[in-house]
């Protein structure tokens, strides 16, 4: 195990001493992000890459809070970001979303207001949930809609907590026995405190999230987009180094030392993984230091980076198993980097690509990784990341298995 780690660290060191490699790993994606940032005017603080997101609203509540949420969507502030329209029933909205006419539907159920601001005799301890029906083909836009709703709910939540005493003055509540009211109020308070990530609509979001969380920073899309694209360079460089070591005689030399084959191959794979993690880690850090992108949940961020690099490492190994020489792997790597970059949404948001491309894009670590990064930037946490992370891990594991079979067949460890 120790030797495996030493081999990996050695590869990391060598990669960081290769100026050409560093240019591709770090400088190119950074500069491209910078360039795209200027082109799209993301540094002005104004216009964002996303605008006029179509959303369908169904207000079955028709009371204070439901109306307030509808007003939010029609407000002046959000007029460029969203393009709201109304629908009569929940079913009608589902159809619109499925036909890709809308990025998401927001269904405010009947009794929503009442569940939060109780009136005499109708008080229910469980708030009614707002339903968001999102279009899987437009994860980013749907994320924005969800963020708006979450933000609204967290405001209501804030009001509910700080307004504990106010509840007591709600008309009709006086008719209740005072002990009951007190117990009720305490229960509500504790519920809101403890259950901040429960599934109730009220607790969807912590109240601390700033109002601008709704604004999606397009750099939070471009920076990881570029990082993920050039991650493919890094993993193919790493894979290439297996064949390069064979050609330069260091692999045979390792094979005649008292080191086991699995330690050698494992060490090489570990080296690819380490380099990728270092690269994406540095680029994501740079996006937050230089571009002010806020990534939110740092635990989720770390897991996402590890998973994305794992998936990409699988591709690096597959390329190595297919390529006959280091040169071939480099050439393959560059093409795959570009193809995956385009397919995976690094250049053009996937939402603007035809459905067929969106399907195919699922084979790229870029698409899943970007999905994850956007989710994070929109305030999502681990539960929302579960899907992309799982997909990336499954992708990596399958590619590892296929490469292992191919490696055995081509006998990479023997000459």
């Amino acid at each position: 195990m120790l030797k495996l780690i030493l081999i990996g660290l050695k590869d990391l060191k060598i990669m960081f001493r290769d100026r050409a490699a560093l240019t591709f790993m770090l400088l190119a994606p950074f500069l491209l992000t910078l360039g795209l940032g200027f082109v799209t005017g993301s540094f002005g603080g104004g216009g964002s890459g996303l605008s006029d997101i179509p959303v369908v609203l169904v207000n079955l509540d028709k009371a204070e809070l439901g109306n307030a949420l509808v007003d939010v969507f029609y407000s002046e502030e959000l007029s460029t970001l969203v393009e709201p329209s109304g629908a009569a029933s929940a079913e009608a909205t589902y159809r619109l979303v499925e036909e890709d006419q809308a990025a998401a539907a927001v269904i405010i159920p009947a009794g929503f207001t009442q569940s939060i601001i109780p009136t005499a005799g109708t008080f229910s301890p469980d708030p009614v949930q707002i339903e968001i029906y999102s279009n899987p083909a437009r994860p980013t836009s749907a994320g924005v809609i969800k963020a708006i709703v979450d933000e609204f709910i967290s405001r209501v939540e804030e009001g509910r907590i700080s307004g504990m005493t106010a509840i007591l003055s709600i008309p009709g509540i006086q008719n209740m026995p005072s002990e009951q009211v007190e117990a009720l109020a305490r229960g509500m308070f504790e519920n809101a405190e403890a259950d901040s990530d429960s599934t109730t609509a009220i607790a969807l979001k912590k109240a601390s999230q700033g109002a601008d969380a709704v604004q999606f920073d397009p750099l939070a899309y471009m920076a990881p987009g570029m990082a993920l694209m050039f991650l493919m360079y890094t993993v193919s460089y790493g894979g290439r180094s297996i064949l390069a070591e064979k050609a330069q005689g260091t692999l045979p030399r390792l094979l005649v030392s008292p080191t086991l084959s699995y330690q050698i191959l494992g060490g090489k794979v570990f080296g690819i993984f380490l380099s990728g993690v270092a690269q994406v880690g540095i680029l994501i850090l740079a996006s937050s230091v230089f571009f002010g992108v806020r990534w939110g949940d740092s635990f989720g961020l770390v897991l996402l980076i590890l998973a994305a690099v794992f998936g990409a490492t699988g591709w690096g190994l597959l390329l190595t198993a297919i390529g006959r020489s280091a040169g071939q792997v480099s050439a393959l790597g560059s093409s795959v980097m570009l193809i995956f970059g385009i397919l995976g949404g690094s250049f053009i948001s996937l939402e603007q690509l035809p459905p067929f491309v969106r399907m195919v894009s699922k084979i790229t670590p870029n698409a899943w990784g970007l999905d994850g990064f956007t989710t994070l930037a929109l305030g999502g946490g681990l539960p929302q990341l579960a899907e992309p992370i799982t997909a990336l891990l499954v992708m990596g594991a399958s590619l590892f298995a296929v490469s292992a079979i191919l490696f055995r067949r081509t006998n990479v460890m023997k000459r």
Partner: protein, 314 residues
């Protein structure tokens, strides 16, 4: 004491081509044994099998009692390998290379640090330890390549043509290092296609050609096979054609063989004095100026020539 290395009828086929055709030999503890042979003779293939990189197609060998087939790991622990082609990380410094390879040979901590210091001293690169190998001259790289093979003080060291393509000074240093290592008790299997190196270093020599061991023994034993002959070495001008001269000498009476190498022609004859005049005459006739003539006792070059009818060098 049993031989440290015993080779039994080793065969290696690459597809249809047989590179090593059933060779057998032993090396005693404390010996320098040279495998002498021209390009493509099968030297590297033999070393690759003995060092457990390739499996033999047939046959086996034991090193310090361990079979290369059945217990390659144990073999790897007792051998050191200096490959023919440099096998180093050029972007790491000399010290970092030694550190990495030392750890691959299970050295660590203080003992690794000590060994690195000793080896650096031995290969004369203490001053340049912090420089990347990429910045080194060919000779210096070769020395690092050797240093890596010495770190774990192997009982048996394989050195595959360690002096190929370097300046005379570095070559001298390497040959002296090999002798010094041997004085300290290391057994060495050395391959070369330079007759002089085999002659200077080895206790015993195996001559290998086309995958076959065609002769084996001490230098004395080998040269006796050639019988009573002498070799005339004619040094000729830069612009003269040694091949043409060799050809015209081949027919002369008393000349057994004449071979051209760069700016030299070697003539094997039973009695040098008898053919000297005729040789000089033949050269004059062709307008070739002989700059100097050496007369040598039979050597390994002559042995090879005698056994194969070809010169050792190309």
């Amino acid at each position: 004491m049993p031989p440290i290395l015993q080779v039994h009828s080793l065969v290696k086929k690459y597809g249809d081509f047989t590179a090593v055709k059933g060779i057998s030999f032993d090396i005693q503890q404390g010996e320098i044994f040279s495998l002498l042979g021209p390009n493509g003779a099968g030297k590297t293939t033999t070393i690759s099998i003995l060092s457990t990189l390739y499996d033999p197609t047939e046959g086996d060998a034991t090193i310090a009692g361990h079979s290369i087939r059945k217990d390659p790991m144990a073999v790897r622990r007792v051998i050191g390998v200096v490959p023919q082609d440099l096998a180093l990380y050029e972007d790491l410094t000399a010290r970092e290379n030694l550190e990495f390879w030392g750890r691959m040979y299970d050295l660590s901590g203080k003992s690794l640090a000590n060994r690195i210091a000793e080896v650096l001293e031995q290969i004369g690169l203490t001053e340049r330890a912090k420089d990347r190998v990429r910045t080194f001259s060919g000779g210096m790289k070769r020395r690092v390549n050797i240093g890596v093979g010495l770190l774990h003080k192997p009982q048996l060291l394989f050195m595959d043509e360690p002096t190929v393509g370097i300046d005379p000074q570095s070559r001298r240093a390497i040959l002296d290092t090999v002798k010094e290592l041997n004085r300290q008790g290391m057994t060495v299997l050395y391959t070369t296609h330079y007759m002089e190196e085999a002659a200077e270093l080895s206790h015993r020599v195996g001559i290998i050609d086309h995958g076959e061991m065609i002769a084996i023994g001490t230098q004395k034993e080998l040269t006796q096979q050639v019988g009573q002959t002498e070799t005339l070495i004619l040094h000729i001008g830069e612009n003269d054609d040694p091949a043409a001269l060799a050809q015209s000498l081949t027919g002369l009476e008393g000349v057994l063989q004449a071979q051209a190498t760069d700016h030299e022609v070697s003539v094997i004859t039973p009695e040098a004095e008898d053919v000297l005049a005729a040789v000089v005459g033949a050269a004059n006739e062709r307008g070739i100026k002989i700059r100097s003539i050496d007369i040598r006792e039979p050597n390994l070059e002559a042995v090879f020539l005698h056994l194969t009818g070809r010169a050792l060098r190309d």
